[in-house]
């Protein structure tokens, strides 16, 4: 019985070794062809993932912020010589919806004409109160806080509001101009 089992085991070992060698022979013959085919597949997969990611992002924006209730608020600066921006807070209908700290790099980007989307959300049609507070340093490095208030009339369709910090050279102070797109 023991001898029979030993012979079975020996046979299995020989079989596995021989198939191993055979497999090695097969892989040695076609490594380059499979590698280039795999490279192509990987590149295709990467492109598919990027396209899918882009579609998901667009879908997410459309689902979360559908255009008929969408409201977006932007911050921009015009020269900004007399007001060094530190932070902006936005309240909509007495609820704080945005509180953003600006780094020196971001302020520089605003000075160069950049626009920052500080808030995007949903509002039903009708009138809504928007209050914005700006904090920074004014002339002579003094701390400065200024607020502006407006009523946003939301219709069907997206609403975009730009809050521009603009220099008023005649008064040597920053002025906050509200513009609806």
């Amino acid at each position: 019985m023991k001898a029979f089992l030993r012979s079975i085991l020996f046979f299995l070992v020989v079989l596995s070794v021989s198939t191993g060698f055979a497999a090695d022979e097969v892989t040695v013959e076609q490594p380059q062809a499979t590698a280039s085919a795999l490279d192509g597949e990987v590149q295709t997969l990467k492109q598919d993932v990027l396209d899918l990611n882009k579609e998901l992002f667009i879908l997410e924006e459309e689902l979360l912020f559908p255009s008929n209730t969408q409201v977006a608020i932007f911050i921009s600066m015009d020269v900004g010589e007399f007001f060094n921006l530190d932070s902006v807070q936005i309240k909509l209908n007495d609820k704080m919806v945005a509180n953003y700290l600006y780094t020196p790099r971001e302020v520089k980007a605003l000075h160069r004409g950049g626009t920052h989307r500080i808030y995007m959300g949903n509002l039903p049609a009708g009138e809504h109160e928007l209050i914005a507070f700006f904090t920074g340093t004014g002339p002579n490095e003094r701390d400065f806080k200024r607020g502006t208030e407006m009523i946003v009339k939301k219709d069907i369709g997206p609403k975009m509001v730009e809050l521009k910090i603009s220099d008023r050279k005649t008064k040597h102070q920053a002025d906050f101009v509200v513009k609806e797109w």
């Binding site: 932070s87 953003y100 700290l101 600006y102 780094t103």
Partner: protein, 172 residues
């Protein structure tokens, strides 16, 4: 081996496995994920945003003035910062005290030169689920959390150094 002996052996094995699994520290769920972005006011008066440091290895250290181990680790952490900052390494010391004045005083007393940021409303520490002091999060050049450490004991800084060196050696 009879049934009762086998049962006893199995129960003993189960208890041993349970003891080992609870003794091992659980890996933080943040590891491998992109670090949550934040911006905080610094001791230098400027605002600092984490995402602007992409490309550098960043060590975010949450600390408080009432925390003894925090005070112990800050000088060697400062030495680590000074040693590797020219290679693209920085430390952000996020203080969670209610008042900034005490934190500023302590940071100056300890001779800390890396940026100290103030999280007085605890927003960032909640974002990072900080449950104890100190908590140290090490972020790689691509903005991914690679290591999270809770507490501080002698010898931890050697480990931090190894981790930072390893991340600095990685290509972005």
């Amino acid at each position: 081996m009879n049934y009762s002996h086998r049962l006893f052996a199995n129960v003993l094995l189960a208890l041993l496995l349970l003891a080992v699994s609870t003794a091992l520290p659980a890996a933080s769920p943040m590891i491998g994920r992109t670090a949550d972005d934040f911006a905080l006011k610094g001791m230098d008066g400027a605002n600092h945003r984490l995402s602007e440091l992409r490309g550098q290895v960043v060590m975010v250290n949450f600390w408080a003035t009432w925390c003894g181990p925090c005070r112990e680790e800050m000088p060697p952490m400062n030495a680590l910062y000074q040693r590797y900052k020219s290679l693209g390494f920085t430390v952000l010391g996020v203080n969670i005290d209610d008042a900034q004045a005490g934190a500023e005083k302590m940071a100056k007393k300890l001779g800390v030169s890396y940026p100290i940021l103030f999280d007085t409303d605890k927003k960032v520490s909640k974002q990072y689920k900080v449950s104890g002091m100190p908590t140290t999060v090490i972020i790689d050049r691509n903005g991914k959390v690679r290591h999270v450490h809770f507490g501080y004991k002698k010898g931890y800084m050697d480990n931090y150094q190894k981790e930072v060196r390893s991340l600095l050696a990685e290509r972005g």
